[in-house]
Amino acid sequence: MLDHLIASAASFSGDVDGLFVLITVLVGVWFIAAEAMFFWLIFRFRAKDGEKAQYVTGKEKHLKKWINIPHALVLVCDVVIIVAAIRVWVTIKQTLPPADRTVRVVAQQWAWTFADPGPDQKLDTPDDIRTTDELHVEVGKTYHFLLESKDVVHSFFVPAFRLKQDADPGRIYTGWFKPTKTGSYDILCAEICGIGHGVMGALLVVDTPEAFQAWEQAHAAETPAEAASATESTPAPAAGQ
């Protein structure tokens, strides 16, 4: 159902959509039954002239079962939902399949910057491809991402992947995804991070292997040496002035 509203482009996004359908069916039945019962009772027992209400304490066995049986059934539904939810959770968050490639995702006020390991497949080497606003990945490959924040709490959210993870300053979180469909998808920040939060977006571009190769070669050609010397930011002013 969800893929009618938003593309489903990662290996686990179908699991999330399936969980959504399961919960919708289970709680939908309860919801419709409860509302139907509710409106029927209002209609059936509306005040009529000369008709007194019944005296029911709620201790009558034949009436109490109408509470007790649904009670037990709700418990059963809960168990089904818990099992299904935890299965999906374990897939997305608790397991880490071996990576084909590892990228770094850095959040800061108010932009996403990314580091692709480049041709040597190793992060933090001079051939890293560092980009702002755009993360290129190859379809069908399993990616690990190392998520960090430079200042406040941000959250890495890719709706089309059904993936979300907060980025806390001072920690590095490792997660994974495996894109299954080419295209470009929104990356949003999902935790309020200041006045630029509303425009802190980026694109996640899932390329075909050929397109990814081309992109990598185009960017690997750029000399990265400058970036290394640029980490020093604005100087503090001299004291006493």
Partner: protein, 213 residues
Amino acid sequence: MLNKAYAALIGAALSAAFVAGCGTQPAAERSSQLYETCMPCHGSSGEGNLALRAPAIAGLPKWYVLAQLEKFKKGVRGAHPDDMEGHRMRPMARSLLGPNDPELVADHVSKMRAVWEKPDFAMADTSAGGTTYRGLCVTCHGEGGEGNEALGAPPITRQHDWYMVAQLRKFQSGMRGSNPDDITGAQMRAMSLTLADSVAMHDVVSYVKTLPH
């Protein structure tokens, strides 16, 4: 589709209020309200803020503010992965939604009263700085630092010294001016690369602070 059904409910009076409110806002009112976006960092009178690394913008010429806003908006400036301050400015430029908003806010900023910002650094060797300035900077920024619209060079005399040093560093390292679409930035970058070191930067900035304003 849905909104039409509701619009019928709401009635003509309310719609009229919307139209009146949305359509006919006076430009002056809109431009001063747009400045609310800039105020948290640049200050209520455009004086800048050292702690936030926000430059003084009051009284900068309209063409320059507009050009920089467009650069930020397109990611030509402030998109380098290491440019922390640029990353904060860029979304702000992007949040000017209306087609004329950058122009309106640039106009508002240009009309703000410019103030000479006193130096925050200890003054360095202004005579060495003066030599550098007359050799390098004068062609674009002018003898008195007044800037040159035709060459895209902003006036610099009233700017904070810490901001100018920071920008020189950014130009030098490629955080600013290395985007292929940033033509004036590339020119400035080439100039900044001729400055030998941090000492030379402080010298030339100190000299700029001695220029009449």
